[in-house]
């Protein structure tokens, strides 16, 4: 991927992006769908778009995913 492509990926904004508050409100549902093999991104495209763009929320998603997977 070229420099400009990387920059473009960072700058692109997705109108489906629901923001941190909405994404965190359903994070447990999204993670459960993910670990049970459901298509979480299809059920919650706005959350998926947000997790692609928001580093802190993506970290929380990864942390919760690892937590439930460790049980």
């Amino acid at each position: 991927m070229s420099e400009l492509e990387r920059l473009d990926r960072f700058l692109r904004t997705d109108p489906r992006d629901v923001g941190c508050e909405e994404a965190m409100a359903v994070l447990h549902i999204y993670v459960d769908l993910t670990v049970t093999g459901g298509d979480a991104a299809e059920h919650y495209p706005g959350v998926a778009a947000h997790l692609m763009a928001c580093g802190p929320c993506s970290e929380d998603f990864t942390g919760l995913l690892m937590a439930v997977s460790s049980d």
């Binding site: 420099e3 400009l4 904004t13 489906r16 923001g19 941190c20 508050e21 959350v47």
Partner: protein, 227 residues
């Protein structure tokens, strides 16, 4: 929802009346909701032990991306487990069964770890608020101005937009997050704002910068944003 984003981007949640609890979730709810007694104390003890285990694992996982280290990191985990425990017990009646109980419970401790690491960042910050380390922008954006003439022009345009087109509030937040690399949660704590408020500012700034780069011919794809 972050203002400025699509009003159709609403999270739909399942009807809790249609949800049936799995056996393990139902058991946790029953034990934690019991009126006193040894059974409830045992359940609370088990839950706290699990929350602490998750918190310790989480601070360890994040140890490479925070200036918080050693015993302070362990303290963060203990505080996160304790605060998550209180929140879970206080909100037990609000559990809607949309996920397994333990996934719902773990969310509290993961978010507590995030928030506490953001607050503890300022005890020994590697960079001060307002530093404005513009010389680090090429690294931040992974663009080498020596590689192509266009790269230097792109960086100059990004800085021009930030300095000329963003509001004072937007500029302060963009510089702190993108230029100086201050973690979003740490900045939110410092400015007394919610994570979402900071994210929205960065969201709007990204869109504004991208439009400028498209107008200058550096980026030619209209992207996903709405007009």
């Amino acid at each position: 929802m972050a203002a400025g984003m699509s009003t159709v981007a609403v999270v739909e949640r399942a009807d809790p009346a249609q949800r049936e609890l799995d056996a393990e979730s139902a058991d946790w709810l029953r034990r934690l909701s019991a009126r006193g007694g040894v059974g409830r104390q045992e359940a609370e003890g088990e839950l706290h032990a699990r929350l602490l285990r998750i918190a310790l694992a989480e601070v360890s996982r994040r140890s490479g991306s925070t200036p918080v280290t050693g015993p302070e990191l362990t303290d963060v985990a203990h505080q996160a487990a304790n605060d998550a425990m209180l929140a879970i017990l206080a909100k037990l009646a609000g559990f809607r069964g949309e996920s397994r109980f333990m996934t719902w419970a773990y969310r509290f401790v993961i978010l507590e770890v995030s928030g506490k690491l953001g607050r503890h960042y300022w005890r020994n910050p590697p960079v001060t608020l307002g530093a404005g380390q513009w010389e680090r922008l090429p690294d931040r954006l992974a663009i080498d101005p020596e590689q192509h003439a266009e790269s230097a022009a792109v960086l100059a345009e990004v800085r021009r937009v930030v300095e000329d087109e963003l509001t004072t509030h937007q500029r302060r937040i963009f510089v702190a997050i993108v230029v100086d690399g201050i973690p979003l949660d740490a900045l939110a704590t410092r400015l007394g704002l919610q994570r979402n408020a900071i994210y929205k500012v960065i969201f709007d700034a990204r869109r504004k910068i991208r439009r400028a780069l498209v107008a200058k011919g550096h980026l030619d794809d209209p992207g996903l944003e709405q007009p």
